[in-house]
């Protein structure tokens, strides 16, 4: 015992006190504070997205238009690589030593411990031989993926393509898409993106501090399975589509064929077209750039984006409206002198030769400009010349019912409206009340400001074939394996013309093919009703237009064909249409009596002068860039003003004392 004996209690006390303090703190962070358990979970769990395969797309007979083809990415984890026969490896995947080193450095730079793609999109042919040898290359493994593949290389503009999601897609999807995700960019891939993409799965994996995967979390209890995208059955007939593309080869233009009894689109040809397989794989970027800069614009979806004056193919519609309105009777005759005089305008007819006396059917059959000008003038002037505007508005409403001048709401993006001019348009061009029937007389023969897409023209034929109604045209017949059909496609859209008025017009249209302008396109054994058109084109020669439906009784197909810069409808569009109709109705094509053959049309080159289009393309690109720049500056201005407003608002909120205290607040913030 010494005199400092009692100091042992002080030392003991300090020991106990500090150890209890630590225990107290441990109690707090281990029991009271539950944040750390959450942080630990966050540290170790990464959710990985499992991408489903996109849905396939079939044609109406179940033939494959788009499928998924396996490709293979060779992945590497540099840390796990052990010495191996580099030469053999390079030879197998078709790269040289320098290429190997480049990829190796890239992978190392990304991460020595995490996997990255060493070589992307290796085709199945290489995969087969590589797979056997994979054991010789530790650290490398093969990741199967899928890409879109188009076995028949048809219907590119219908199918569209997919691409990596852009910033605005990501923004619009509110974070559904991430950088590097694929999304439909055009065509059906875009229109049915939500159905095709399927449902993504999530896999919770545990990772270590370097992000290396260490197996599934909780044995996959929180994982969700990826669900493959729905299968789409398109209304297209792949054989018809192929024939259409063949016939339109080396021509600008479009073919749209619709089944009148359902609105299902059978053929959807846009020419020039391209092989959809070009938009897949390693060369995608180069191919896309080449096509984007092609003056003939293969990406332009002519069936719904190109707008043409319908020309004479509009005449049956004029006739129907006149009959419904009681303006004229089918038997009433008009004497054609070769010209029609409206005010001080002279509309030439039949190249200046007189048709003589024509009734409605003959007028349609012989495409008498005079007759239809007369009918149109009567429609507009039936309540007196002073009230032209009111009559015009009524006429326009009737035309719109047929789906002209308005979007048909096709299940595809980027549809054009076409154009049926409004009275306001003429008020602006002339002046209020400064125009008469004679001023707008060219509308009577489908010229002037009238514009229609090939789809609208084909739909017009459907309406005539159905004698008064149409089904909404559509490209996707059924969704999923249960073949769900959208309800809107089963509804008849009436156009306000009684069915009895169609007979005389259809008589005329039958005569067009039997012995009229399109007689050389007559299909043996099939009664086709059609109408040729020759519409002015500002760029060079006229467009060749033909619309038709067949057979006359119980029509199965309605069609519109436009061949740009090819002159009269009878020469190009009509024969092409006849082959499509024959193919669809008979399953084969035969030469026409006139000697026309499929080969002749398939081989004919009607491409217009490139210079005209190249110039247009240049102008368009310039306009695009100006528009983009303007949109940018507007956006920026808006963003700035929003920011400014927000700044003022916060300033006002924070400083109820007004400007004086605002300044004071700023001083304190320093």
């Amino acid at each position: 015992m010494n005199k400092f004996f009692e100091r042992r209690y002080v030392v003991t006390g300090i020991f106990i006190a500090l150890i209890l303090t630590l225990l107290g703190r441990l109690y707090y962070i281990q029991i009271v504070d539950d944040r750390y358990a959450i942080y630990a979970t966050k540290n170790v769990i990464r959710n990985f997205i499992v991408y489903p395969a996109r849905g396939p797309i079939l044609d109406r007979n179940g033939k494959i238009l788009v499928q998924n083809e396996p490709i293979y990415d060779i992945m590497v984890t540099p840390k796990d690589v052990k010495p191996f026969d580099t030469l053999e490896f390079c030879k197998m995947i078709g790269i040289d030593k320098a290429g190997f080193d480049k990829r190796w450095i890239k992978a190392m730079k990304y991460s020595p411990t995490k996997e990255s793609a060493f070589e992307k999109q290796v085709p199945a042919s290489i995969f087969a031989s590589l797979q056997e040898k994979m054991g010789d290359f530790p650290g490398f493994y093969i990741l199967p993926r899928t890409v879109r593949s188009y076995p028949d290389s048809v219907a590119a503009q219908f199918l569209g393509y997919i691409g990596e999601a852009q910033d605005r897609d990501i923004e619009r999807s509110k974070g559904y898409y991430r950088l590097g995700d694929y999304i439909g960019v055009t065509g059906v891939e875009k229109a049915y993106e939500n159905v095709l993409r399927g449902q993504r799965g999530v896999k919770s994996m545990m990772v270590d501090s370097r992000g290396v995967q260490k197996g599934s979390f909780a044995n996959g209890a929180f994982d969700t399975v990826a669900r493959t995208g729905e299968r789409l059955t398109s209304s297209l007939d792949i054989e018809l589509q192929k024939l259409g593309e063949q016939l339109m080869h080396n021509k600008l233009g479009s073919i749209v064929a619709i089944e009148p009894s359902s609105g299902e689109i059978l053929a959807y040809v846009s020419s020039p077209t391209y092989d959809p397989n070009l938009m897949v794989g390693r060369e995608r970027g180069n191919n896309a750039a080449k096509m984007y800069n092609d003056p003939y614009k293969p990406f332009f979806i002519r069936p719904i984006q190109a707008q043409y004056p319908p020309g004479s193919s509009f005449k049956p519609l004029s006739a129907l409206i006149a009959l419904q309105e009681g303006i004229i009777s089918p038997s009433e005759t008009y004497y054609c002198t070769g010209h029609y005089r409206a005010g001080n305008r002279l509309v030439p007819c039949n190249h200046g030769e007189a048709h003589g006396s024509v009734n409605m059917s003959r007028a349609v059959a012989e495409s008498c400009n005079g007759y239809f000008s007369m009918v149109f003038q009567r429609i507009l002037e039936r309540t007196g010349a002073k009230y032209t505007e009111a009559a015009f508005t009524k006429w326009r409403a009737n035309v719109l019912k047929f789906g002209l001048g308005t979007r048909l709401d096709l299940d595809m993006p980027a549809e054009s409206r076409g154009n049926v001019p409004t009275p306001l348009h003429y008020d602006n061009v002339y002046k209020k009340g400064g125009w008469r029937a004679s001023t707008v007389i060219s509308l009577a023969i489908g010229q002037g400001e009238l514009l229609a897409t090939p789809l609208q023209l084909a739909n017009l034929e459907c309406t005539i074939a159905n004698k008064g109604f149409f089904y909404k045209p559509h490209l996707i017949k059924a969704i999923g394996t249960e073949n769900v059909i959208k309800e809107e496609y089963t509804k008849r859209n009436y156009v306000g013309i009684d069915s009895q008025y169609f007979e005389p017009v259809i008589d005329g249209m039958q005569a067009v093919v039997e012995n009229g302008t399109a007689r050389r396109s007559k299909i043996p054994g099939i009664i086709m009703c059609g109408k040729t058109g020759t519409a002015q084109n500002p760029r060079g020669e006229d467009n060749s237009v033909f619309v038709a439906f067949a057979p006359r009784e119980n029509p199965k197909i309605a069609i519109a064909v436009i061949v740009e810069n090819s002159g009269e409808g009878a020469h190009w569009a009509a024969p092409i249409a006849s082959f499509i109709v024959e193919k669809y109705l008979k399953g084969k094509v035969t030469p026409r009596e006139s000697g026309f053959t499929v080969d002749y049309f398939a081989n004919a080159n009607r491409m217009p002068d490139l210079a005209l289009y190249a110039m247009d393309l240049k102008k368009e690109r310039m306009r695009d860039s100006i528009r983009a720049a303007r949109a940018d500056s507007i956006k920026k201005f808006k963003a700035d003003s929003v920011k400014k407003a927000a700044r003022l608002k916060t300033a006002a909120n924070n400083k109820p004392g007004g400007w004086g205290s605002l300044l004071a607040g700023r001083g304190a913030g320093k």
Binding site: N2, K3, F4, F5, R7, R8, V10, V11, T12, I14, F15, I16, L18, I19, L22, L23, R25, L26, Y27, I29, Q30, I31, D33, D34, R35, Y36, A37, Y39, A40, T41, N43, V44, M206, V207, D208, S209, R210, K214
Partner: protein, 425 residues
């Protein structure tokens, strides 16, 4: 006496304090299992695999037990007599390490022994310093309150401190400060303890708060004490001096902090004080460590099931941050057990020290207790983020041969000396 000696020779387990031996073995075993968990790898699941650190730790434990038994064979007298020699050897090694040492993690603290083993002299310096201190303080006519004795004592402690500081291993340097408890027990004025406490408190508060507030509080407290002792002029004078010293220290604390410390030291302190938060850089280690321990909850995640531990989120987990494994896999229950064992060990050592006749053993015992105490407090406080990162091991649990061996020697020398408690050294 001869009978006693005969008895001693018959068994070297005579008079051995089995409680301490048990605590020693318990802590070593806990350490071994937790090191296994900390570096656990599915590819090497066996716990005895010599290519892994837990395999090596197993060897160290075995070596430690052998060394412990050898120590029990030694003469107590011999240990006391040779203490200057041990001290000289470790001091020499501390010098040697500065010349030929291997630099690991910025500290030149290891001497390569070949065969993948490295010696850390600073670990053994703790033992030899303790021993020499006991020897000197227990000699006749030495009083720590006397200036000359105090100077020699300070010298004994400061020489290894300075040499270790040159490595520069801050953690091991600070360990020697714990010997203040020994000096206090042997008669050093309590004012030393109070002064050290005051310095720590004032240093921390002056980093956190405006120094004028702190000075105001000092003046207020001083005035209150002075008022209560207004009759006693001497006390009033002392209070005045203390207050002036405190204020003076507060004034220099910030400049010392900003200029006296190195950048990485300041950064670590800032993280703990919450002045900065950097969970990716300087604060990463402590943050992950806190997450590991905190996520253990009451019962822990289970052996080999700690995600922070298994997936290597905490660097240095088998050595300085081994307590993370305890906290994460065994939860608060495990923390209580481990800290309980340490507290038990500390109290047992003090008990042993106080039952000695010979001051030598008592002083040595207090030295052992102080060193273990300091290691435990600093290491765990660091792991749960209440102290800056100071790299010192958790006694007997952390991975490391030198550390394990030096604590084994510290303890077994005490056990040996204690077994001879009836004799006079």
């Amino acid at each position: 006496m001869s009978n006693y000696n005969n008895h001693n020779q018959r068994s070297f387990f005579f008079n051995v304090d089995w409680v301490t031996v048990f605590l020693f073995l318990a802590l070593c075993t806990i350490g071994w299992f937790n090191i296994h968990a900390a570096v656990y790898d599915e590819k090497h699941p066996s716990i005895i695999d010599m290519s892994t650190v837990y395999g090596k730790q197993f060897i160290y434990i075995m070596v430690g037990i052998v060394v412990g038994m050898v120590i029990l064979l030694l003469e107590s007298r011999f240990l006391a007599a040779l203490s200057p020699v041990f001290y000289a050897i470790t001091t020499l090694l501390l010098m040697v390490v500065l010349v030929i040492g291997k630099n690991v993690g910025g500290n030149q603290a290891w001497i390569n022994m070949g065969g993948g083993f490295r010696l850390q002299p600073s670990e053994f310096a703790k033992f030899s310093t303790c021993l020499l201190l006991a020897r000197y303080l227990s000699s006749v006519n030495v009083k720590v309150t006397e200036l000359k004795s105090f100077a020699i004592v300070a010298g004994i402690i400061l020489v290894p401190m300075l040499l270790i500081k040159l490595q520069p291993d801050d953690g091991s340097t600070l360990v020697f400060c714990s010997l203040i408890f020994v000096l206090y027990r042997e008669g050093l004025s309590p004012y030393f303890l109070v002064t050290i406490a005051a310095i720590i408190i004032l240093f921390i508060t002056s980093q956190l708060y405006n120094e004028y507030y702190i000075m105001g509080i000092i003046v207020a407290i001083a005035s209150l004490i002075a008022y209560l002792n207004k009759r006693n002029r001497q006390t009033m004078f002392k209070v005045l001096v203390a207050a002036v010293a405190c204020i003076g220290f507060v004034l220099v604390a910030k400049p010392i902090y900003n200029h006296g410390l190195k950048q990485h030291q300041r950064a670590r302190i800032d993280v703990v004080l919450g002045i900065t938060s950097d969970t990716r850089g300087v604060g990463y280690n402590q943050n992950q460590s806190k997450i590991a321990i905190g996520s253990g909850r009451l019962w822990g995640k289970g052996y080999l099931k700690g995600t922070q531990t298994k997936y290597a989120f905490v660097p240095e987990q088998s050595t300085d941050f081994i307590f993370c494994t305890v906290g994460e896999e065994w939860g608060f229950a495990g923390s209580v057990v481990v800290l309980g064992l340490y507290l038990f060990l500390l109290l047992r050592i003090i008990f042993i020290a106080e039952r000695q006749r010979a001051p030598f053993t008592r002083i040595y015992g207090y030295g052992v207790a102080s060193i273990i105490f300091f290691h435990v407090i600093i290491n765990i406080a660091m792991a749960i983020g209440v102290m800056p990162v100071i790299g010192i091991p958790l006694p007997l649990i952390s991975y490391g041969g030198s550390s394990l061996l030096s604590f084994t020697i510290l303890l077994f020398v005490l056990i040996k000396l204690d077994s001879n408690r009836m004799g006079i050294i």
